[in-house]
């Protein structure tokens, strides 16, 4: 695998920016990462998973900060086991939690973040001005961080991570605690970093909408294992559904479709039937005719990332109504349920 930066455009052109093979990390008895094999190409990738799934451990692994029990990998062409310093010099990391000195002026905070990477102080200060302007804090850059709102703090953290123009930006919950305006601005900014700046983003978030807005790929991990990875559009294609609205006898139709071997999800008069092939449409109409049920609307359903998440979790044997059931809190689940079941 070769990684290089094109001088003219500043864009990465290699196959994978992150590539790992059978990563295993154990903390005593607890297995944080259990055979994680991922391949992330340049662009924006979302990292999803419940609390305790191993996201933080994976991020620390990508940053080259922890020694692995077994397995290995490369980030931006550098070995994660031996070249952590080289990796971190090319990565911008935006932590989820507070990481700013409240009594320090924002501009100097960003400058110091640059100096810690080895930037010359004058260059770091100049670049700090640029990045503060980029994240929308040009007029507030000489205020102390302690006087900032949550949105401004998040923006300052983003400026700290962008100060050296990293090849890969790792954002841990970048919209945490932001109101809708600040959230929109943060997402637009991240989107620009990818589209305009040609940089890559690995973004961990609980909010499916955020991930879907920025990322074209996801890596979903659960209990230390990768349960899904790839392009969101491709993954959505795994379970394409047909949505119908019916009138009268919905239960009869549901039962008939299930008897015919179709997977059906129903909420009141609306049903979603898993599309096996083209014949599914005629099957539905035939079943409706048999059960004497009116089908008033029938269309292909375009699933969201939220739906994708629910489907994947359902395949693993969990009853979840929305992603917040799992992502918001630590789930109490049966470990045996996911053994041997990988969706990839």
């Amino acid at each position: 695998m070769s990684i290089r930066r094109i001088e003219e455009g500043g864009n990465l052109t290699e196959e994978w920016i992150v590539e790992t093979q059978d990563l295993v990390k154990k903390y005593g008895e607890h297995v944080a990462l259990d055979g994680v094999t991922i391949a992330i190409p340049p662009g924006a990738t979302g990292l999803l998973g419940p609390n305790g799934a191993g996201k933080s451990t994976l991020l620390k692994t990508v940053l080259g900060l922890i020694s692995l029990t077994s397995g290995g990998g490369r980030v931006l062409g550098h070995d994660i086991a031996t070249e952590g310093n080289l990796i971190r010099a090319r990565i911008g990391y935006m932590p989820e939690y507070d990481c700013l000195m409240p009594d320090m002026e924002a501009i100097h905070q960003v400058r110091y973040a640059g100096e810690l990477l080895g930037m010359h102080p004058a260059a770091a200060l100049q670049r700090a001005h640029e990045t503060m302007e980029y994240v929308g804090l040009r007029d507030q850059r000489y205020r102390t961080v302690g006087t900032f709102s949550t949105g401004m703090e998040q923006a300052t953290k983003l400026a700290c991570s962008l100060v050296h123009d990293p090849d890969l930006l790792i954002c841990d919950e970048p919209t945490n605690g932001l109101d809708s305006t600040a959230r929109g601005f943060m997402l637009d900014t991240l989107f620009q970093v990818v589209k305009q700046g040609g940089r890559s983003i690995l973004m961990s978030s609980h909010l499916m909408d955020d991930v879907e807005r920025i990322c074209d790929r996801i890596v979903m991990i659960h209990k230390g294992q990768v349960i899904a990875q790839g392009r969101i559009e491709d993954l959505k294609g795994i379970d394409r559904e047909i949505e119908i609205s019916v009138w009268g006898g919905a239960s009869r139709l549901e039962q008939k479709l299930k008897d015919d071997g179709h997977e059906v999800r129903r909420t009141g008069r609306v049903m979603r039937i898993n599309r096996r092939d083209e014949s599914t449409y005629t099957d539905i109409l035939a079943a409706a005719a048999t059960t004497e049920v009116q089908v008033r609307r029938m269309e292909d359903y375009e699933p969201s990332l939220e739906d994708l998440f629910i489907v994947i979790m359902a395949r693993l044997g969990y009853e979840v109504k929305s992603s917040t059931d799992l992502l918001g809190t630590t789930p109490q689940m049966d470990i045996a349920a996911i053994e041997g079941r990988k969706v990839a």
């Binding site: 990391y93 002026e105 100097h108 990477l117 080895g118």
Partner: protein
């Protein structure tokens, strides 16, 4: 043109009503025209009437500033490890003197100045003695073994000055990184934990050295210069000056080690500062009470200050005031430093990047 407006500015300024949501317009109903600034700039000039029209027009802002978000790449080069380490050192040291670096609290800076002034007081006194020709002042404050030892290890300095300064300087050095999560800023960059610990240690000990060791050396140098001493004096006094210097270095290292170890196990600077003074004063007081009650000096081995004082007395060939061998004190100091450094290193290793 009217008398009130000799330059005809009223005609040039736009009188349109400002938008109600424009922040810079200030109170509702007040129009910000820039007139006062223009008059200040041109009203007292020497008659150049042509320049004002352009200024008046450019002063009008009606729609705010348009924000263009453009990602600009950076083509610079990242410097090697020593530059990163230097930036950590600079951040802490320069923070004492200028803005834009580590924000030291004002009372810490003030106390550093007061203690430094106090430590330099014997120099002023010797200077007075030289000016007045009073041998008494020079005899009391001049360079002797006891005075050199007292400058570093005397009771007054070790009760009122050095522990207080150490507590304030070292207290928040690592604990505030843990408290504010700033450790993530360090460790998500190519800064190793060894470099981080080392630079924090050097930063703290340099600040303490600026007060303790620099004032000690200045005191000795001032005595030579003010008394116009020659080589013979230098040869006589240099060995015990050197002994005192080594004792001062040991004091700085020991206090920094203990202080940083306490800082590394805490969040915030209060606990490490208070517990540092508790260790220094508490061990001293307990050992003193035991010594008074049971005539046993051995508990002084638990007191960092007394161990330093004992080793210092030995190095400067003064009569020791402790009834156990100096080797015990030396070993006790080594153990204290070793344990402190072990705690420091292991706790720095536990500083998290992702969450604390």
């Amino acid at each position: 043109m009217s008398e009130k407006d000799p330059f005809g500015l009223d005609d040039l300024l736009d009188k349109t009503t400002p938008p109600p949501d424009a922040e810079f317009m200030g109170e509702a109903g007040l129009q910000v025209t820039g007139q006062a600034r223009m008059e200040a700039a041109y009203g007292s000039g020497d008659g150049d009437e042509d320049g004002h029209a352009v200024v008046a027009k450019t002063g009008q802002v009606e729609a705010g500033t348009i924000f263009h978000q453009i990602y600009r790449p950076w083509r610079g080069k990242l410097n090697p490890r020593w530059v990163r380490n230097w930036s950590i050192l600079r951040h802490h040291i320069y923070g004492l003197f200028s803005k834009g670096h580590r924000p030291w609290p004002p009372y810490t800076k003030l106390l550093i100045v007061i203690v430094l002034m106090g430590a330099l007081m014997p120099i002023f006194t010797m200077f007075l003695g030289t000016l007045s020709g009073s041998p008494e002042l020079m005899r009391i404050f001049g360079v002797t073994r006891a005075n050199l030892w007292g400058h570093v290890l005397g009771s007054f300095n070790n009760i009122c000055c050095w522990p207080l300064i150490t507590a304030l300087v070292v207290g928040g050095m690592i604990s505030e990184d843990r408290q504010h999560g700033t450790s993530a800023i360090y460790f998500s960059r190519p800064v190793t934990r060894t470099d981080y610990t080392l630079m924090k240690y050097i930063s703290a000990s340099l600040i303490l050295s600026m007060i303790i060791i620099v004032s000690y050396c200045a005191y000795y140098a001032a005595a030579i210069l003010l008394n116009n001493e020659g080589w013979a004096y230098l040869l006589d006094t240099f060995p015990f000056f050197l002994g005192g210097l080594i004792a001062a270095v040991m004091l700085v290292m020991t206090y920094t080690s203990i202080g940083l170890a306490l800082s590394s196990i805490s969040k915030g600077k209060f606990f490490p500062a208070v517990s540092f003074m508790g260790i220094i004063f508490g061990s001293q007081i307990i050992a003193f009470l035991i010594s008074l009650l049971f005539q046993r000096d051995v508990l002084y081995l638990l007191s960092p200050y007394d161990n330093l004082a004992h080793v210092g007395q030995w190095m400067m060939e003064l009569n020791t005031t402790y009834d156990f061998p100096v080797a015990w004190s030396f070993i006790a100091l080594l153990l204290m430093n070793g344990i402190s450094l072990y705690i420091l290193i292991s706790r720095v290793n536990s500083l998290e990047v992702t969450r604390e």
